[in-house]
């Protein structure tokens, strides 16, 4: 097993190495052939090739001058207006190094820029188009102001298709001499939900055990909200023991350290499957989960919002028990 972090080791270096994403890659290759491109905006959930595609495109486009004509910034760490007026503007307005058509600036996680900073970016993008092309990357398109969206060609990156995640995992497992069983593969695909980074990270973490990778091992290791625990929490609340359900929730959140979003995702699939629950309740619970999920995206407190979900379950369950 190689001693690097696999997500980086197996990150494609050129557009040709990218798995899946055929249409996008085809268009990016046209840009390379014609030695031109508009400003680009890549949008999609985590681990879906956005950054990789931007890096590959820049490398293919800039060739051996890559390091002179390329700048990558992560807007989550450099998000203020001062960065736009400082580093970004300086890079954009500087002369084009010889041998390249323009410079390329990748602004990753651009949706974490303040809207002021985005406003400040508008002019820079226009004024220096000839010398510098921007690739903006975001998870939530809605957080990118419209004037910026309108200056870019938009590429959407949906979650990775299962068969391609499988392909990558098998390829890596073989290369690293890891005994990846079919049900282990299935488990990794299940937990990573179309997020290639998560899939590869999970594979490496589980491989560190130097045991055959099985379904159980994957769930054990991740301490992930395993279906059983979430199911137990839901049933406990529904059957009328609010206190115990809260204890289970606290244990998932604070002892096992499981991400609230994982608990919600698991609760969602449990609610769909749960037996002996009237349709109208199921509908209410799905609505409640959707609402909570959205609230968490907005930044609300997981502990408060999840308590609310338990309270809803408790109430619905108790209606029938009397």
């Amino acid at each position: 097993m190689s001693l690097e972090i696999w997500v980086e080791k197996y990150r494609p270096k050129t557009l040709d190495e990218i798995v899946d994403r055929e249409e996008i890659v085809a268009r990016l290759k046209e840009f390379v052939e014609n030695k031109t491109m508009p400003h680009l905006l890549f949008a999609g959930p985590p681990g879906t090739t956005k950054t990789t595609a931007a890096l590959c495109l820049a490398r293919d486009m800039l060739g051996k001058h890559f390091s002179d004509a390329f700048l990558e910034l992560n807007a989550s760490d450099a998000r203020g207006i001062d960065v736009v007026r400082g580093r970004i503007k300086n890079f954009a307005e500087a002369k084009i190094p010889s041998g390249v058509p323009f410079k390329i600036l990748v602004l990753d996680e651009a949706d974490n820029m303040t809207s002021d900073a985005q406003q400040a970016l508008r002019r820079t993008m226009e004024k220096y188009t000839r010398t510098c092309r921007f690739i903006l990357i975001c998870n939530y398109l809605g957080k990118i102001i419209e004037p910026i969206q309108s200056r870019c060609a938009l590429f959407r990156f949906p979650p990775m298709e299962k068969k391609y995640v499988e392909l990558m995992l098998r390829r890596i497992a073989e290369n690293e001499n890891v005994d990846l069983r079919d049900d282990g593969l299935e488990a990794i695909i299940e937990v990573s939900q179309g997020d290639m980074r998560k899939a590869i990270n999970t594979l490496q973490a589980v491989a560190a055990f130097e045991k055959p990778i099985t379904y159980d091992l994957v769930y054990d290791v991740l301490g992930k909200a395993s279906p059983v625990e979430v199911k137990q929490m839901i049933e406990t609340a529904y059957k009328g023991n609010f206190e115990e359900a809260r204890r289970l929730l606290n244990s998932l959140l604070y002892e096992k350290g499981i991400a609230p979003s994982d608990i919600i995702a698991e609760a969602y699939s449990q609610i769909l499957r749960m037996d002996g629950i009237p349709h109208e309740d199921r509908i209410k619970l799905i609505k409640a989960l959707g609402e909570i999920d959205y609230r968490l995206v907005e930044g609300s407190s997981p502990d408060i919002q999840l308590n609310m979900f338990l309270a809803e379950l408790y109430l619905l369950g108790r209606k029938y028990s009397v």
Partner: protein, 417 residues
């Protein structure tokens, strides 16, 4: 002529003269006499006017320590602390029997934090001199870094009896004739705060030889009291209108953000009915949402909805809340999030390195790489260490991931500011 305030004139001179809080006084003595002070500072906390500062001053005097005092009203930034203490701490001839008091530590950090906190910690860690800290609240988020170096000693509100006894003593010494019922009335309104009781007595007695209940009722207003968390929640659960609930929350010594967490953690204990539980958490979740919206948009006027909705929580329960609640617990989410600032900075620094290597943000590295790295380190330390090294982490940083402990001092000075 300006009369001496009676709070000063009649301040206790020895620990034995400090009324009430016997357990706390005992703990304080133990801390000093049994050498606990070499490990940790005594952290005296509790509501105002119950004798925290007095106890600190008295114990120094009782055992013959010269007290170096830093109060909130003077500058106590790192520079001053260094000049007054740290520079002499190893000079035992100069630095004989001294004790250091940082009074009201919670106040200083909200106004100006110029490295005072690490300097205080440095004083404690020198193990050369007993350090006493006082504050309203041990759980103040601002003071998290101090907790590890502190031995908490709680001071509670004083009983009516303790206050009345002290008032009687003062009346006797001042030659005032005082109706016992009047003293009780003053004590009641003081709500366990000796200082305000003495002040009220002096105020009423001014120009009188005799004090009656009617004088008290006419002249002494009820103060807005800062309630501790249990008092706050007790009153809050009992509230029958939004203004009352709001009053309970705003008169608390605990900050609003933290109060919501306490309510979230404990309110269900006061409820029986499932639909009440649902309604209460529904309202609370909306309060939370407005807090976050106000923050996200910087539209601070939205905060009022957060406050009003939180204050509506007790009213959302149609069948009412139990007024007596057992076993309330500290909010877990806060406990878990209270990585000290020092540790957070350290972790963040580490994640910045990882971020650069993996084309992620610092937060992204914390979320997407660190957890997996931890698993590898645990399952297969040799392998995990090599992977961590390839990401540019030092062996100290790797140890931090494994143990959660910062590298020992010496190799690394405190890096503040």
């Amino acid at each position: 002529m300006c009369p001496v305030p009676w709070t000063i004139k009649y301040a206790p001179k020895r620990l034995a003269e400090v009324y009430g809080n016997d357990k706390a006084k005992e703990e304080l003595k133990n801390w000093l006499l049994k050498g606990l002070w070499r490990e940790k500072a005594a952290f005296l906390y509790g509501p105002p006017g119950v004798g925290k500062t007095s106890a600190a001053i008295c114990i120094a005097r009782d055992f013959g320590f010269f007290l170096i005092e830093f109060s909130a009203s003077e500058s106590r930034d790192a520079e001053v602390i260094r000049k007054k203490i740290l520079d002499h701490v190893h000079d035992s001839t100069l630095f004989g029997k001294r004790m250091v008091l940082f009074d009201d530590v919670d106040i200083v950090f909200s106004k100006f934090d110029t490295g005072a906190l690490p300097a205080i910690i440095e004083v404690i860690k020198s193990k050369r001199v007993p350090v006493v800290l006082t504050a309203a609240n041990f759980y103040d988020p601002k003071l998290v870094p101090l907790r590890r170096y502190s031995y908490p000693i709680e001071f509670k509100r004083l009983s009516m009896r303790d206050i009345v006894r002290n008032l009687e003593r003062i009346c006797r010494l001042e030659g005032i004739e005082c109706d016992p019922m009047a003293l009780r009335e003053i004590a009641k309104r003081a709500y366990g705060d000796m200082r305000s009781a003495i002040n009220d007595l002096q105020f009423i007695a001014a120009g009188r030889r005799k004090v009656t209940v009617d004088d008290v009722k006419a002249l002494v207003a009820y103060r807005n009291r800062e309630l501790n968390i249990f008092e706050t929640l007790g009153r809050f659960f009992k509230a029958d209108s939004i203004p009352r609930a709001m009053a309970a929350l705003t008169n608390s010594m605990v900050e609003f953000d933290l109060l919501i967490k306490w309510v979230n953690e404990n309110v269900w204990r006061a409820l029986n009915d499932p639909s009440d539980i649902k309604n209460v958490y529904d309202v609370l979740s909306w309060a939370d949402i407005y807090g976050k919206r106000a923050n996200a948009t910087q539209a601070w006027h939205l905060m009022k909805y957060m406050m009003a909705l939180t204050a509506s929580v007790p009213l959302a329960a149609r069948k009412g809340l139990k007024s007596f609640v057992r076993g309330m617990t500290f909010p877990l989410s806060v406990k878990m999030a209270s990585l000290t600032k020092e540790k957070r900075d350290y972790l963040e620094n580490m994640c910045r390195k990882i971020a650069r290597k993996c084309h992620l943000s610092t937060k992204g590295a914390m979320r997407d790489i660190v957890p997996y790295l931890k698993i590898m380190l645990e399952a297969n330390p040799k392998y995990g260490r090599k992977v961590a090294r390839s990401l540019g982490l030092s062996s100290e940083e790797i140890n931090f991931l494994v143990t959660g402990r910062l590298p020992r001092e010496g190799s690394r000075r405190l890096e503040y500011r």
